[in-house]
Symmetry: C2
Subunit: 278 residues, 2 copies
């Protein structure tokens, strides 16, 4: 579904993701918008969607087009349906890279603190190499299993925005025997992936301990770092996430995203909490 | 070698690392110190040492003892021998986790922007598991090769502070056939490792493409994220770093540190630039 936006000059159509992450400049360094509950996982806005609202503000001020590295510290859950503001401070503007910090607040309280560097991924920064990570062979999207809230025991409003297909080996709680998840992702309304939406895709699969430990409930993300590697080709994005280390409730999950041509387009790592279940 | 510090109350001894990262409170949110050239790699202060000066300031204000996750964006090289100031802003103080941002400046220009969350790693945050990464078997420190500037073609003043031993397979430029490095590290003056010094240890080995591509010169770090996993036991720290992906000069290097009892104590990831050699 496309939304229609009219301004004084013209009418144009935008996809849901771009509509739901719109920001308006409110002051020199301040951007405002509204958190749409359509991106909820359970009662909380998805962390990748919250980050996307910050990226939307960063894109307005950055002289370079692509997020190259973004780190987000999640301080408090977002509030679905409520307005937000993003304060942006440029830290350094360079010829090839520019850095800024940003803070998303709702109801007067900081929710996300972000540190990001942008660049132009179409331009080489040095030596090229054949060194990369190839996508592992997995069943095609039509042979994978749609992610549903039922399997996880939570509501998944975000399932009307994103088409997430899970590798059959990792779709059943506790059945995989390792702390891994894999599958495919795309926007349901046909929006093409780009360097701006890849960070969202790194935070929208079930937590990777799901296949080992069973349903682990809500895994709050403390910190998420995403490195964008190149502009993705159109089509499905293949994903893999693995938790190698879970000590005393603190897990480190590392992820890879590949585009439909098999290129590695993003890497991610997050620190999450696996809480005791009641 | 221990330094002796005298204040009005008493005389006490500190190790080099603690002496060279000392900060003094200058104003409410401002801490000052001096970048010691003893931690240089070539002409530039090591990035892990610069970060350690920021950590020293963060420790003064954080209500929790351990850095749990730290992300640093390196904006400009540090200036050896010159004073620095660290501006610290607390973002959130919580019961189990607290977050702050910090900026290290020299000569009026920001050099490092840091976003960090501290906690208490002696206290469990949730579910425990057997999931971890075990240290690979490597030759003991006495069978490894001391890191020298000669092998890399640069001066290594930091070699008088840190004892870095390289796995023989990864000690010769271009000979390993993969973009990996491994070995051991400790302070030369006998200071025990702790959660505060592990971030330094993640940034003091030769760049991991060294074993594949040969001498790659100075690899500027754009961004470094370190996750500290637990308090290390005394003794040598075992390390492994690998670059899985190097595209158009942008490398992602991931690292592991283990303590002398074989526990994973830190994970790191950095975005670095592999520049064209003249």
């Amino acid at each position: 579904m496309l939304y229609s936006i009219r301004n004084s000059q013209r009418t144009f159509s935008v996809h849901q993701f771009d509509f739901d992450t719109q920001v308006t400049q409110n002051a020199n360094n301040l951007w405002t918008g509204t958190i749409d509950p359509a991106w909820n996982i359970g009662e909380n806005p998805n962390g990748g969607y919250l980050l996307s609202c910050v990226i939307a503000a960063l894109k307005q001020v950055m002289p370079h087009p692509d997020p190259v590295t973004l780190t987000t510290h999640y301080l408090r859950p977002g509030i679905p349906g409520a307005p937000f503001e993003v304060f942006v401070e440029m830290i350094r503007t360079g010829r090839t890279l520019s850095s800024a910090r940003a803070r998303l607040s709702q109801d007067g309280k900081p929710r996300l603190e972000v540190l990001g560097t942008f660049g132009d991924l179409a331009i080489s920064a040095g030596i090229d190499s054949m060194l990369t990570v190839l996508p592992p062979p997995i069943p095609p999207p039509e042979a994978c299993i749609q992610r549903t809230g039922d399997a996880q025991g939570i509501g998944l409003p975000i399932g009307d925005r994103l088409d997430v297909r899970l590798h059959p080996d990792y779709a059943v709680a506790g059945a995989a025997g390792d702390a891994k998840t894999a599958g495919w992702i795309r926007f349901l309304d046909g929006r093409a992936p780009d360097t701006t939406s890849l960070p969202l895709f790194t935070d929208t699969f079930p937590p990777s301990p799901f296949g080992l430990l069973g349903a682990v409930g809500w895994v709050p993300t403390i910190e998420l770092t995403v490195h964008i590697r190149r502009q993705p080709a159109d089509g499905w994005i293949q994903a893999e996430f693995e938790t190698e280390d879970l000590q005393q409730g603190r897990m480190i999950e590392s992820g890879y995203l590949w585009d439909s041509e098999g290129h590695l387009v993003a890497q991610s790592r997050q620190l999450g909490l696996v809480l005791q279940q009641d």
